[in-house]
């Protein structure tokens, strides 16, 4: 038994991602070594042969994400793990997986950039790359864990969402979360919901590889299952064959968008602490959220109440909830390990009367609780 179901263990974030992948039923891993994500590949190299699952180290990250897409088309739940520079190389495959609606999971343990940057240190610099990194238009799904247990849970959720929405899902732990060790109480196996790969039940001649509607997805047949179809990154019709007919192009592009934007309730995941009663709210995700929690406790001792708003699903951005909960606040402090990325989304969803205050740190070190406390005291 590789996943310690129901047990309590001291586990590293990256290790929890690997265990989460096993829990979700990973069949195929293809990757390329890169700090600070390598433990995920190493642990799966150890675990997966024992389970008769496929693991391969490819020649680069482009090959890795390409192999994942091939693997999933042939009926294997597939995941890779990388970091910033590798994530940049994977954009080609991510765009292809979006376009061809192939469910894969890409873990990007975020390190300092740009370029080779700070391989061993934390950042949240790839949040916008996750959203806008590929060429062309399409929504994406990206999740950011804030602790080790969440690395496990959100890896399972990433697999589930990828299958439900037939789209790649990006997991965005920052280096601090990936390399942190914490006590984790693992759930019991029966308490973990795993979405199986969908299987079409229509006769072969009725099979449409893509849903005819502009907002739903079809069950995806696997190569070798008797449903023969064509897959191409060219614009295509419901059978997957290239098209330039404007109605078919429009329907395809609408589906890529609406299959996600019309089901936001299933995707949105926001955690709030004392947001309603506070006029000052800290908007934080990933490791920064942990500092925000500590800052909230310190401020409480000083008899200052601040709320914390944490998006777990970063993309699609929780527009409605941000508007509903933060639009009437005096101050929203947005500490991020970058030069300001999600802050622009917060600004977009709040009126001018709300002071949206940035707190950036881009030197590779964590934002400390004290820095957040000081920033809060400065604005109230």
């Amino acid at each position: 038994m590789i996943v310690p179901w129901g047990e309590t263990r001291l586990v590293q974030g990256n290790e929890a991602v690997a265990l989460g992948a096993i829990a979700a039923g990973i069949d195929f891993f293809a990757g390329y070594p890169i700090t600070p994500s390598t433990e995920i590949a190493e642990l799966l190299a150890q675990y997966m042969p024992l389970l008769d699952k496929k693991w391969i180290q490819m020649e680069d990250e482009i090959a890795s994400v390409s192999a994942l897409i091939g693997g999933r088309l042939a009926g294997s739940k597939s995941m890779t793990a990388t970091s910033g520079p590798g994530f940049s190389l994977m954009q080609e495959g991510l765009g292809y997986a979006c376009m061809t609606e192939v469910p894969i999971v890409v873990v990007n343990v975020m390190r300092g950039g740009p370029s080779t940057g700070l391989p061993t240190q934390a950042a949240q610099g790839d949040v916008m790359q996750a959203r806008w990194g590929t060429h062309g238009d399409h929504p994406v799904i990206a999740l950011a864990p804030c602790d080790v247990r969440e690395c496990f849970e959100l890896t399972v959720r990433a697999f589930n969402l990828s299958e439900i929405f037939r789209t790649p899902v990006i997991l965005l732990p920052d280096e601090i979360i990936g390399h942190m060790r914490e006590r984790v109480v693992f759930p019991r196996k029966e308490d973990v919901h795993v979405v199986p790969m969908s299987v079409p039940d229509v006769p072969v001649e009725w099979y449409e590889h893509y849903h005819e509607s502009t907002s739903n997805v079809s069950p995806m047949a696997s190569f070798g299952s008797g449903y023969r179809y064509h897959v191409t990154g060219l614009m295509h019709d419901v059978h997957g064959f290239p098209t330039r007919k404007k109605d078919e192009v429009q329907a395809k592009m609408d589906r890529l968008k609406h299959k996600i934007t019309r089901r936001l309730d299933e995707l949105e995941d926001v955690r709030m602490h004392e947001v309603e009663e506070s006029s000052v709210v800290i908007f934080a995700y990933g490791s920064v959220y942990r500092s925000a929690l500590a800052a909230q406790a310190i401020l409480k001792k000083k008899r200052k109440t601040v709320g914390i708003f944490r998006p777990v699903t970063l993309w699609p951005f929780p527009d409605r909830t941000v508007k509903e909960m933060l639009d009437s606040k005096d101050v929203v402090l947005v500490p991020e390990l970058n030069q300001g990325q999600l802050i622009h989304e917060v600004e977009r969803m709040t009126r001018d009367s709300v002071r949206v205050v940035p707190l950036h740190r881009i030197d590779g070190y964590a934002i400390t609780p004290e820095e957040i406390v000081d920033a809060v005291l400065e604005v109230i």
């Binding site: 042969p49 008769d52 897409i69």
Partner: protein, 280 residues
């Protein structure tokens, strides 16, 4: 009298996807015919075949054949195919690639597919230039040749595809042409039979781009060039060195029996499980 429909038709998406995109005189359709005849000789079910490709003229082939077909991104056909083969080793995976696709942007993937000895057959249609984008030079454009990006002549030496694949560790390496079709059919059939990574380079004319830029004549003249400028291995042995100068050699250059990556991986899993159980 009713017309006889050639058996190749049952492997085509004949009613739906034709006419095809290839120019008159292009050699890619001939290679597709060879692949289909070799598939038929293998007796494979269409459901069990996956044809992957990258981007370019050759890579448009999958749309016309009634297999599981995957038109991937530029250069990555073999990386996609590696994932397919790993996920389901029972599938017969082939990659159809152009010279630019497989050797420039996909150069890294093809040498590692060969080194790894993954059980895939790669058919490289070599027409000495990028046809889809209008005839730019590729890694197999001969020295001195004119293309739209070598208006003053090619100064880079080209790859010898077969020597490259031999060096990288492929189990089967052959070169044919679309003029010598029976020979090409046979080479592809042998490649399909080979466990491990097999490569067939098929020399093909591109009259629209390469031919026109180099004043090589039309489709017929370019076919004659393939006939006159190539010799097979037995001709090579019988000829004196000065007679073979400038000739391209056809034939099977590598035919090794070695264990494929998939078989090695299966053995690895079994050994790892046994060791884990013994350690308990």
């Amino acid at each position: 009298m009713s017309a006889t429909i050639p058996y190749e038709y049952k492997y085509l998406r004949a009613k739906k996807r034709f006419p095809h995109v290839w120019c008159p005189g292009c050699g890619i359709g001939i290679v597709m015919g060879s692949i289909i005849r070799a598939v038929d000789a293998m007796g494979w079910e269409k459901d069990d075949i996956v044809m992957v490709s990258g981007i370019g003229c050759t890579s448009r082939m999958p749309v016309y054949v009634d297999f599981n077909t995957l038109h991937a991104t530029h250069g990555r056909g073999l990386a996609f195919g590696t994932g397919v083969k790993m996920a389901n080793p029972d599938l017969n995976v082939m990659a159809v690639l152009g010279d630019g696709d497989s050797l420039a942007i996909g150069g890294n993937h093809i040498i590692h597919a060969a080194r790894r000895n993954i059980d895939i057959t790669a058919v490289i249609v070599n027409n000495n230039n990028y046809g889809m984008t209008g005839g730019q030079f590729s890694p197999t454009t001969p020295l001195g040749a004119r293309t739209s990006t070598t208006p003053y002549g090619m100064i880079e030496p080209g790859f010898d595809v077969c020597r490259l694949m031999d060096g990288a560790g492929a189990s089967f390496v052959a070169r044919g042409t679309v003029y010598h079709v029976t020979e090409l059919d046979n080479m592809i059939l042998k490649a399909f039979k080979k466990k491990g990574f097999s490569v067939v380079e098929a020399l093909a004319p591109c009259p629209t781009n390469f031919g026109r830029a180099n004043r090589l004549g039309g489709p017929v003249e370019m076919m004659k060039l393939l006939k006159d400028n190539t010799i097979n291995l037995s001709q090579l042995k019988a000829m004196k060195p000065d007679q073979t100068e400038g000739k391209i050699v056809r034939g099977i250059f590598v035919d090794n029996d070695s264990i494929s990556y998939g078989d090695k991986y299966a053995a690895l899993c079994e050994n790892a499980r046994k060791a884990a159980e013994a350690g308990k």
